[in-house]
Symmetry: D2
């Protein structure tokens, strides 16, 4: 961490601040006198030094971080990729992990039929919302507990592990019992009370990036879960909010190599929610594979025009099958480099 | 709602869609044939028609909303300003409501001392965080239950009603008992499970705009609370996330006249969190008053350099006093127009 | 175009507006009376109707466009892909067009050496800046006329057509003579005086998307050039400005299928400027190919650490060669669908 | 400037880089060895050191600037406010400078009538576009040379100095002769060739912030003009592009105190273009005065519903008069602090 003092700050105040920082932390402070600005360089583990607190000093112009503020999710301290095991499958290893299914569970027939279809095409996990976060209180809110029951039936029929979204702390016990991967949606990425409780269990957590979260904030939210003791965290890029309105959000594929470099956690891509348009799912899914994602999360519905939510971004089983064939061709090609961004 | 069909859509499909929409909703549909595009105009209350579901039809190019999707918070159906009563004070009436206090409660001495100072300068409410949402799990998380106790002591000493942030459903009972205004922070603006529960109580709710929430989304979140039966909702603009990094967020003061026009709910401004820089609080607070806000929420600390959080954006009691004097001068001046945007 | 009248607008005013619109344009106007709102539906070619002018009517609540405001660049009126011919090469046809070279031309030895390297690896065009738009007046501004001369030498040595950026109208004559593709940089995407003049020549124009331009605005800028008579326009996505700061800009790959659907013009991707980080160029270039781009524009430098500009985002010739090998493997794989988004 | 080396960089490479930086610049470099990272602190005037060039070194993780990259516009080296003199008026001094007039000049009658009206209400400058940058080539492009002539007539009739927008280098001679303040529009803020030429004249330049320009980039563009020798630069905040679509752009009033602190140049606010909605102009103009702007630029039209452009954001002369009365009342009130942000 580097502290930039205001021009013409009295040396006495600079020394006071140096001593205060050293006194409150296990840190030593170098004073560097530049032409206009005097700087303090903090030597040691500055992860837990509160930059805003230093900024509150009236002689401080600005504070710049040198080290990332996350530790457990940081590749610097954990060079090898984390592979999250779920039943007989895994996310983060050599194989691309594909999660597919409808936006929301609507009926036994619907979820079982889609589960069978996506399994046949090569999906390894079944997604389906039981509890749905909707912008409007007047929209369909999901089948809730009933939806979880239907997911379990689909799992029995197909063997596919279940991925579904949790919305509050009081659901945790039930999810631990019924669900294979607990999804934290974009809107709850900074629901810190929920994250803390999810840190106390062992279930894999699929943590989606908030629509206006920086990559650093996403990793800090993963850190909340890991700091509690749960290291089974899978990250998911699903589009960020920008000024462009043609797509619902803007898929940030640069985030994939960035996260690969900064963290050892697996990261997947959800092109369906990012675009919000079904015919964009195919090209964006292929781009996600090409950019180095560990997996995909794709909305598939057997009757999009009558889906209870997000039909406009769901692809039909046949389109999903063709997409999987194309992706398999893509990954069959040997590449010179498999994105060794870790070492650059 | 207007549905734009794809160019060259078969008339049969257009009629099918018309009948489907009419069958599922209490709506009649006009077909308008343009030069390139055919349009469907939905006549009736389209608030509960799901635009995305229509978008999922393969012959639909796009759907445009005509009517706002919120009803209870909509000024169209409730022309008069809502005034929220809290003890002997109110927010949304003729007087500017000023909420002041530290970012977080740190000790009895601290909170009581600041409460007395801000009351003397004219604040009508005391703010102070007991439960703190922090980006890092390694940062100070608030005194939690202890913090609530200290707030109650400060209230006893000064008579100021308390405004403090709730972070999860299981805290509601305690907050109903101890707190006068329950704040929902920006990160929880779309924590819909929480909003639903807050709809079931009668306490005033201070709902902060999420850093990437549109004005419409903010009003939809208010709608969640109101649809549950709690109409005591106060909105708060506190800065949005943009590309500019000089300030922590960008205070969107245009949102104030916009919300005044769209909704009857009171709306206040928090310049402290928006800017994240203490010396900007003064000019931004005055601008908020000039633009027509119903109140202000300002961080005041007696020792910012040693505050446990957000010291860099807190002003000292003396600065707050001068600010209040200036604001009182401003509002003493009679204006030609008091922003009758409602009727434009 | 749909005009939404304010609730309770007098019918007389609605009729006045209808007649005014019909009188000023070759348009007929349907009046649709909804429950709360009255709408006007404009039938005919509304491309040249000025929405803002209608918005200025005091009884108008809002105006929604139905039809895209561009015509010459619109796929609706020109279903087949445009293929831009440049010497013996083309952009927009079946083959991926790769443009490569240094950010700026620095010396004869540098530009000739890089040109030979990228040609050997399969690039079809040489890029290199002679006139450089730099944020700071104190940064290297390019070799200017001397740079153009060196580009011509590199072209003579390798046969590669030259792509380079123009910065003002007075350079057009020289560029027409010396250059094969005239690039309009992101900062000049809405330099309308320049666009108008470029519409009067026949040289292919590579039009880069402004960092905060919507897809529609990009197509409107293409329309300026085409309206002047020059239909040889190639679009380029090069990253947009968002809140994320890890990358210089956020590459918006969704823009590629979006543009393919909306327009017949070819569109390429510049991953170097988008990311601003050399080790991201490889994965993003592959993603651009997977998403369906017609070409790539890549910064290659033989000595990035001593480059006069943008060394941090330039890859070395050896890395470029490996990237080209990987891309060739990718495009050798036959896909089920070649993104027929045009017809969806 | 601080250079952060990659963890485990060889000491030899660190020393090489130190020597290279010292060799190429008049700078001395301190090496600071932290726990994980080694830092280089650059001592001296680093304004002209190219951070991107250092970033291109393969052992460099990141580079952080300490000092602002602008000099001539920097308050650090020029503590007193710049006051730009225009005829008998000035911008940047004790009085609020109000510029008013129509978006575009349409006829002699129109511009003279509006000029008289706004003068009577207290405007000190007349605005009016002769050359109009329009998103669509099919929109009204301004009366061009004819418009300049009409502006001169209005000036003769009222004595009000003229502010109007320039769009390319070849117009400079004419503007120097006919115009009192030359406006550079948001779209041309980084048209560096134009800025360089405007640096060679003495006319005051009104430089509008680009819709996606940071405050630092705005000041760098001012620096281009000042580096050429023209120090008569007035800055203008006119809204930035964000995700919020209710307003055309988001007025960033925090930019005013920020610019006041960073620079000695005067800064005014254009609420009309920011909001794009006429009934927001009043509250936003008052907020701009309250936040400390040196002036306002306001669109006034005698017949907005028939204006050739931007009628929807123009206020009528009567509304302007009431606004001016209100503003005069506001500034008649004595404040405790006149935003001495300069010294904080």
């Amino acid at each position: 961490m580097i502290v930039i003092m205001k021009p013409k700050s009295p040396m006495e105040e600079i020394i006071n601040l140096k001593q205060k920082i050293e006194g409150e932390n296990n840190i030593s402070v170098n004073v560097i006198q530049g032409k206009e600005y005097c700087l303090l360089g903090l030597i040691g583990d500055a992860t837990e030094v509160d930059a805003d607190k230093i900024r509150a000093n009236e002689f401080v112009e600005n504070v710049k971080k040198v080290q990332q503020p996350y530790k457990l999710s940081n590749r610097l301290f954990h060079p090898d990729n984390t592979v999250v095991k779920i039943k007989n499958e895994s996310i983060g290893g050599d194989e691309l992990a594909v999660i597919a299914g409808p936006c929301s569970v609507e009926s036994e027939e619907q979820i079982v039929s889609i589960a069978k279809d996506v399994k046949k095409s090569g999906a390894k996990f079944l997604r389906g919302g039981a509890f749905k976060p909707r912008t409007s209180p007047y929209s369909f809110q999901g089948l809730r507990d009933k939806g979880l029951e239907l997911l379990k039936i689909a799992k029995e029929e197909t063997g596919l592990p279940i991925v579904t979204e949790i919305m509050s702390i009081d659901m945790i016990d039930k999810f631990v019992e019924d669900v294979d991967v607990i999804q934290v949606g974009a809107r709850n990425m900074q629901n810190f009370e929920l994250l803390k409780q999810l840190g106390k269990i062992k279930k894999p957590i699929l943590l989606k990036r908030g629509i206006s979260a920086t990559i650093e904030e996403l990793l800090m939210s993963a850190e909340y879960i890991m700091a509690g003791g749960n290291e089974n965290v899978i990250l998911c890029e699903r589009g960020i909010r920008t000024f462009e309105t043609y797509t619902r959000n803007t898929l940030d594929l640069s985030a994939i190599p960035a996260i690969k470099k900064l963290s050892h956690l697996p990261v997947i891509v959800d092109p369906s929610h990012a675009a919000g348009i079904w015919w964009m799912v195919e090209p964006l899914a292929k781009a996600a594979v090409a950019v180095g994602a560990d997996g995909l999360m794709i909305e598939v519905h057997n009757d999009p025009a009558n889906a209870k939510c997000d039909g406009q971004q769901s692809i039909k089983p046949k389109v999903f099958q063709e997409l999987m064939e194309d992706i398999n061709r893509m990954i069959s090609v040997k590449m010179n480099r498999e994105y060794e961004v870790i070492n650059v």
